[in-house]
C-alpha cells in the first residue's frame, strides 16, 4: 500500500530530525507537532461532520489544566498524568457534546464558544485551585513508570510528542475510514438523508465531539507538561480561532492537512515574528487568501499538483458538489 510507505518515510524522517537540527529548534518542533495534533483533533469535527467548533480551546485548556493539577498535586508519572488528563477531558466533553449537538451550523459554533468562554470565566472564579490570571506554573515532568526518565529531556519529549501525534493520526485515520466514519461523511453531505437511513446522527455527533475533545485534550496535556505552565489564555477564543485557521489552511477533511497547517503556522509565526511585528497581519492575509482562493487547503494543493488521484476518497466528490452548488 502506497500510504504505508509514505507514512513510514515521513515518520522515519521525523524520528531522525532531532539529530539534524540544533537543540534550540527542538522547542519549535515540539510546539509545531503539538499544534498539529490539536488541529487534527478539530478536523474530526470540521472536516468530517462539518461542525464548526469555535470553542476547541476548551479541549486544549481542559487537557492543559488537568495535567497541571494532576502533576503538581499528585506524585504521578508523566504518562499516567497525561492519560488521566485526557480522561478528565473526555468526561467533561460528554455533557458539552450532549448540549452542543442539539444544534448545528452557526448555533453549534456559538455553543462551543460559550463553553470555552465559560471555562475561561471559571478559571477566575476558582482562583484558589487554578491560580486565576497567573495560571499554574512549575509543572514538573515526573519520571516513571518503572523508572523511565527518557522523556524528561527535550529530545526525549520530542519523541513522546511525535509518538502521540503518529499514534493519534493512525487512530483517527482508522476511525474516519471505518463504518463509523462513513456515517460521519453521511452527516456531512446530507444529514436528513442519513437520519432517513436509520442512523441516530445525534449519537454519532456526540461521539465525534468527545473524540475531538480527547485528542485536543491530549495536545493540551502535552503542551502544559512541555511549557511547564498553564495560563487562562489557553481557554480564550483566540486560541479556538487560531486552530480553526490551521485546519482550514491545512485542508479540512484530510487529517494530514491540518497537521501540516498547524506545523506551517507555528513555523511561520516563529520566523515572521523575528523579522517583523506585523506578522498577525500577514497571518490574517494568508488565511483570507486560502478561504477565498484555495478552500481545499495546503494538502489539497499538494495532492492535486503531485498526485493525479488524491489519497482521501471523499475529497474529490466533495469538490464536485461544492462546485456544482456554486
Amino acid at each position: 500500500m502506497n500510504w504505508k510507505v509514505n507514512f513510514a518515510v515521513t515518520a522515519g524522517a521525523c524520528v531522525l530530525l532531532p539529530f539534524m537540527v540544533p537543540q534550540y529548534s527542538l522547542t519549535i518542533l515540539i510546539e509545531a507537532l503539538i499544534f498539529g495534533l490539536f488541529a487534527m483533533s478539530l478536523d474530526l469535527l470540521v472536516g468530517y461532520c462539518r461542525l464548526y467548533s469555535f470553542g476547541h480551546a476548551a479541549a486544549y485548556g481542559l487537557g492543559a489544566y488537568s495535567t497541571a493539577l494532576i502533576l503538581t498535586q499528585l506524585q504521578l508519572p508523566l504518562p499516567i498524568g497525561i492519560m488521566l488528563a485526557v480522561l478528565v477531558t473526555i468526561l467533561a466533553a460528554i455533557p458539552i457534546a450532549w448540549i452542543c449537538t442539539r444544534s448545528t451550523g452557526v448555533s453549534f459554533a456559538m455553543l462551543t464558544l460559550a463553553f470555552a468562554q465559560l471555562g475561561y470565566a471559571m478559571l477566575f472564579r476558582f482562583r484558589d485551585v487554578t491560580g486565576g490570571s497567573d495560571g499554574i506554573v512549575g509543572i514538573p515532568r515526573p519520571s516513571g513508570p518503572l523508572g523511565i526518565t527518557w522523556f524528561q529531556g527535550k529530545t526525549g519529549y520530542y519523541y513522546l510528542v511525535l509518538g502521540c501525534l503518529l499514534g493519534s493520526y493512525l487512530l483517527c485515520r482508522a476511525i474516519v475510514r471505518s463504518p463509523f466514519g462513513a456515517v460521519l461523511a453521511g452527516i456531512r453531505e446530507n444529514e436528513a438523508k442519513t437520519i432517513a437511513l436509520g442512523y441516530n446522527t445525534r449519537f454519532y455527533k456526540i461521539a465525534t465531539v468527545v473524540l475531538a475533545y480527547a485528542f485536543g485534550g491530549l495536545a493540551g496535556a502535552l503542551y502544559a507538561a512541555f511549557a511547564g505552565f498553564a495560563s487562562p489564555e489557553l481557554f480564550f477564543w483566540l486560541v479556538s480561532g487560531r486552530v480553526l485557521i490551521m485546519v482550514v489552511v491545512g485542508g479540512a477533511g484530510t487529517l494530514i492537512g491540518p497537521i501540516l497547517g498547524g506545523v506551517f503556522f507555528v513555523f511561520l509565526e516563529h520566523e515572521l515574528s523575528q523579522v517583523t511585528d506585523l506578522w498577525p497581519l500577514i497571518f490574517g492575509s494568508i488565511f483570507i487568501a486560502f478561504v477565498m482562493f484555495a478552500p481545499e487547503g495546503i494538502w489539497g494543493i499538494l495532492t492535486s499538483r503531485f498526485n493525479a488521484k488524491p489519497e482521501v476518497p471523499n475529497s474529490t466528490d466533495r469538490k464536485e458538489t461544492s462546485d456544482a452548488a456554486a
Binding site: 470540521v46 469555535f54 456559538m110 472564579r125 483566540l238 490574517g284 461544492s322
Partner: protein, 290 residues
C-alpha cells in the same frame, strides 16, 4: 439610604450598558438574518468606530459630528468588504467559509488599526454638555449614561419603524424570509445585502463612538464585545431584531448586576444565561428552530 433610588440607579446603569450592546447586536442580527453570515469582524468594526470617533473629536472638536462621521466611514468600509470579499462566497454551499473569512478580516483589521493609531489607548473624554450628574431619587447618576439610554431607545424605535413601515424595511424582511422568491420577483437581492451589511457596520460604529468616552478606545475592545454580542444574538434568536433588543437588555442586566453582586461569577453568568435559554429553546427566545 434610599433603597428605591438605589434599585433605580442599578437599572439605569444596566440599561445604558444594554444600549451600547444593542448597537452592536442589532447590526449583527440584521446581517445574519439577511445573509446567514456570522460576522466575526463585528467587534473590530465596533473598535474601528471608536477610533474614527475619537479622531473626529480630536480634529473637529465636535462629539455630535463624530456620531455622524464614524458610522458613515465605517459603513463604507463594511460595504467595501462585502463587495470585495463576501460577495464571491455567496454561491458556496459551505456556510463555514463566512465565519472563517470574517475572522480573517477581524485579524487584519485590528492589525491595521494598531498600525494606524498605535498601541496606546485613546480617550476623547465625555463631551462637556453631557458631563453632568443627574440626581434621581437622591441617587447621583451620570448624564452621559442617560444620554446612552435615550439614544439606544431612539435607535431601537427608528430601526423598528424602518423595518416595519418603509419599502426598504419590507425588502429586508422579505429577503430574510425567502431571498430566492424576492429575487424572482425582480428585486436586486445583492443590493439589499450590501445595504444591510453597511447598515449593520454603521450601527456597530455608532456603538463604538458612544462607548469610547466610557472605556477609551483601545486595541482589544472588540475582542470581548463581539462575544457579548454573539451571546445576545443567540439568546434573542438569530436574525430576530426584537430578539436582539430583548437579549441586549437581559445581558446588560446580567453584566451590571453580576458585576455588583457576584464579582467572581460575573463573567460566567452571561454564558449560563445563554446555555439555559438554548437548552430550553435551541433557536433562541424569538428565533426559529432549524
Amino acid at each position: 439610604m434610599n433603597f428605591l433610588g438605589f434599585i433605580l440607579a442599578q437599572c439605569l446603569s444596566a440599561l445604558s450598558q444594554a444600549a451600547i450592546l444593542f448597537f452592536i447586536a442589532c447590526g449583527l442580527t440584521l446581517i445574519f438574518g439577511i445573509m446567514r453570515i456570522v460576522n466575526f469582524a463585528h467587534g473590530v468594526i465596533f473598535m474601528l468606530g471608536a477610533y474614527v470617533g475619537v479622531t473626529t473629536v480630536a480634529v473637529t472638536g465636535s462629539f455630535l459630528l463624530s456620531l455622524i462621521i464614524a458610522p458613515i466611514v465605517v459603513g463604507a468600509v463594511g460595504i467595501a468588504f462585502e463587495q470585495i470579499f463576501l460577495r464571491h462566497l455567496y454561491g458556496r454551499r459551505d456556510g463555514g467559509a463566512y465565519l472563517l473569512l470574517t475572522f480573517g478580516l477581524a485579524i487584519v483589521l485590528s492589525e491595521l488599526i494598531r498600525i494606524i493609531w498605535g498601541a496606546q489607548p485613546l480617550s476623547s473624554g465625555i463631551p462637556d454638555f453631557l458631563r453632568g450628574i443627574v440626581v434621581i431619587l437622591d441617587q447621583p447618576f451620570p448624564l452621559y449614561r442617560l444620554f446612552l439610554i435615550a439614544l439606544g431607545l431612539a435607535a431601537a424605535i427608528a430601526i423598528w419603524q424602518f423595518l416595519e413601515r418603509t419599502r426598504s424595511g419590507l425588502l429586508i424582511r422579505a429577503v430574510s424570509q425567502n431571498s430566492e422568491m424576492v429575487h424572482a420577483l425582480g428585486t436586486d437581492v445583492d443590493l439589499v445585502r450590501t445595504g444591510v451589511f453597511g447598515l449593520g457596520c454603521a450601527m456597530a460604529a455608532l456603538g463604538g463612538v458612544l462607548a469610547a468616552p466610557l472605556v477609551t478606545a483601545f486595541l482589544g475592545m472588540g475582542t470581548t464585545v463581539v462575544i457579548d454580542a454573539f451571546v445576545i444574538v443567540i439568546i434573542g434568536g438569530m436574525g430576530s431584531f426584537l430578539g436582539s433588543l430583548i437579549g441586549s437588555i437581559l445581558v446588560g442586566f446580567v453584566q451590571v448586576l453580576g458585576a455588583y453582586y457576584f464579582q467572581d461569577l460575573a463573567l460566567a453568568f452571561m454564558y449560563f444565561l445563554m446555555l439555559i435559554v438554548l437548552v430550553i429553546r435551541p433557536g433562541g427566545l424569538l428565533g426559529k428552530e432549524d
